[in-house]
Symmetry: C2
Subunit: 469 residues, 2 copies
């Protein structure tokens, strides 16, 4: 044969990170053979939209897709194979093994149940929901919210009109967003959380605001652990969630107690990883295995405040690391600098945002950290719609900013980005207080809440050191 | 006499900057005698709230005051003298001269028409509206919007029911906010602007979006210069605004063609100033005159992108410089680092924001500047309320960020603060593209509009240099 062998990139996982990798690889090398193996029936959607589909805010599952599958196949020349599960990676042979027994292959280049060769591999298998080992979780009315396929099943159940009461286990981002979605869908909701507060990723004063908001809409049981789900005597009968001995009737149970890196394939193949199972990569998203890259919620990323890799599975970094992995795997140049752990969640009528380290996180990392809290307003006090905005800054006693958290009815979600930018820049609270931020009465007080908190923090430092403010 | 002479700080101007100075001085030295001379009848309010009072969004003028006058006198021990005009500064004698013929002095320490001695002086006389020299502007139905006293008169006229048509001259921030206020109050409005576009402080692509929004609500005449206001034959008759020979009938004319530093007192006393009349100060807000400080809209401030002092009269800097001037004048330590020119304005249903330099400004400053425009969305595309958001970045060909502008129905006002923070940090567009910004479907797409624009700009640089993205 005269023809040179066409190099092939295989991507495992067709989520946002995987499709970003495939698209970036295609842009980098238009001649590359790009194959994406996705175990589910959808590709190129993020987890973050699922609660809004569940609650009916988003009408159809297809609305959540960045592009329809046909766009990848026809417009970008990406061989996207849905319902295609990978069961193993053989880095020495440069091939992955596809699960047998799945529907017939769509592309002639590979058949299911057979090996698929690659020249470069991007693994973006994301994170799996944690399912605590306890009786009853195999009932078809017990859900985790991690795939669109599963969410379609859950919404169908909601549409059947048989769900009047639900128990949501877990009061983190996903648990609270799911609780809100169920309330939107007219369901009476109990939220059960083993920890003493909601939203473990924010500090107590901010979590308390979220808790008060949650309690306006659902029954919240804190410090309460799910022990079992009892399906009763008849299959159609009501479920019972057993929580600290108490029995809560439910037509539906959602388990949202966290996720773990879905890195079994990589770890079995020998990839270096952190104790939590997240896979270690370099700035080009290379794993320790030759020609194997990883991206998305499965990888540990440089945490720019901690100064070491950490597992912070969030959507924007998943997309960006996919783009970097695909570019580098296809022979291009790109690098990912790191994260500071910025996140925002809508908790019913409240915006709750965080970035960097919380106080306990900072102290656990050996930093001499303190926190400053200040309550300002989202707009000029006289302007209609102005509402309280809580800003918490975490910083060293010398003034280095380590993190920040905000909560309010409006204005928290994007103000946290100022703090995130300040963390990237290595700012002190004095630097923060000196920022020239925008002002007009409909949008902020003359001292933006971020400035007000920074000024208070800077004055506190002056008190520590005995200097003038 | 045995008693030591009590040091006195005099503040000229009781606006936000002046009252910030007085309060900061009081905090710094509780024993200081603090006197504020304010020519008008109100103190401690910002100009920025006036349009919302005019349009009825804010019911009473008192709503705009940070604190009532009595709070300064009784709670802070500040001798606030309203209706007290200063006519001269004598730095050699350390005294100011008060205008004669004003109401009797409220405090025994000084009588009107007599000198008032100071140990330190803070001048915060703000900016005066420009009144073009043309016939008819002395009519009582011709207004500028620069003091609350004047705004009360204007709102009283609106309440009389005699105003059906108004002409607003000038389509900058104040002109457009006033036009919106008048539309809110049920008035039919013509806006006349001599320049070819609205909002001269933003570049053409962003100004064009504002223009389209303005034209949905008022008749806008661009490139049209006011020549005269003709009051007709009877005093109660309709006014006529003469614009390029055309006669526009009006029951009210508002002149909003800009402001100039109100620094006559300082300049007459010999203070160093820029050609535009703004007064030069150091980081402690000291003027070139001994023991004379200046703060607020009258001063030139270090522009951190231009690297030289510039006159950018905006509310937050006015407040901060007041605080610094008062602290330093009272013997404390404080400094003001500078501005990047961040501003936001609500133009009917549109948010328009800017920071740093526009393209023409940057080129005029000798910088090899280019601009990158990207239109994204304010929320995830599938989330209700998501709307287009235009982001324009101005940067050097090597990638240094010089400025940014945003316009959209939502999400522009506080996103500009990320760009402002990046300017303070001296970021490149690659630095901007690497930021870990918050994401959740109700608040942003997974690539925030700021990131999307930065990624596009960074790719453009790669094209310039021939490198990979």
């Amino acid at each position: 044969m005269m023809g040179a062998r066409v190099a092939r990139l295989v991507v495992i996982g067709g989520g946002a990170a995987g499709m970003s990798a495939a698209s970036a690889a295609r842009r980098t090398d238009p001649g590359l053979d790009v194959v994406v193996c996705e175990a589910g029936g959808f590709a190129a959607y993020g987890m973050c939209g699922i609660p809004y589909y569940l609650g009916g805010t988003v009408p159809e599952p297809e609305n959540l897709l960045a592009y329809p599958p046909s766009a990848f196949r026809e417009k970008r020349g990406i061989d996207l194979r849905l319902h295609t599960r990978v069961t193993g990676i053989d880095p020495a042979a440069r091939q992955v093994r596809l699960a047998a027994g799945t529907p017939a292959a769509r592309a002639p280049s590979a058949t299911r149940g057979e090996p698929l060769a690659y020249d470069a591999l991007v693994v973006s298998t994301g994170a799996d929901p944690v399912r605590p080992p306890m009786p009853g979780l195999d009932d078809r009315r017990v859900f985790t919210i991690r795939s669109l396929d599963e969410a379609i099943g859950l919404r169908r159940l909601l549409a059947s009109g048989t769900v009047r009461r639900a128990v949501v286990v877990g009061a983190g981002y996903v648990g609270l967003e799911t609780a809100e979605a169920l309330v939107c869908a007219g369901v009476d909701v109990d939220v059960v959380e083993a920890l003493p507060g909601v939203l473990g990723t924010v500090d107590e004063p901010v979590a308390a605001l979220a808790q008060a908001e949650v309690e306006r809409h659902v029954r919240l049981r804190l410090g309460a652990r799910l022990e079992a789900v009892d399906r009763g005597s008849t299959p159609a009968g009501c479920l019972t969630a057993v929580v600290e001995g108490e029995e809560i009737p439910a037509d539906l149970v959602v388990i949202a107690v966290g996720v773990r890196p879905a890195t079994d394939l990589l770890i079995q193949a020998g990839a270096r990883h952190l104790p939590d199972g997240s896979v270690v990569v370099d700035a080009g998203m290379r794993t320790s295995l030759p020609d194997v890259f990883a991206a998305g919620d499965a990888v540990a990323l440089p945490h720019l405040v901690l100064g070491r890799p950490a597992w912070v599975p969030l959507g924007p970094a998943a997309n960006k690391t996919g783009r970097v992995a695909g570019t580098v795997a296809a022979g291009g140049t790109a690098s990912f600098r790191g994260v500071v752990g910025t996140a925002v969640v809508k908790v019913f009528g409240l915006e709750v945002a965080r970035t960097g380290l919380g106080l306990a996180e900072a102290q656990a990392a050996g930093l001499d950290a303190v926190a400053t809290d200040e309550v300002s307003r989202s707009r000029a006090k006289y302007y209609p719609g102005s509402s309280p905005l809580h800003v918490r800054l975490v910083h060293t006693r010398e003034g280095r900013l380590l993190g920040g958290q905000l909560a309010g009815r409006e204005g928290a979600a994007k103000r946290v980005d100022v703090l995130a930018t300040a963390l990237h820049a290595g700012f002190t609270v004095e630097d923060l207080a000196a920022l020239d931020l925008s002002y007009a009465p409909p949008f902020a007080p003359v001292y933006d809440p971020v400035l007000a908190a920074a000024i208070k923090a800077a004055r506190g430092l002056a008190a520590f050191t005995g200097g003038s403010p």
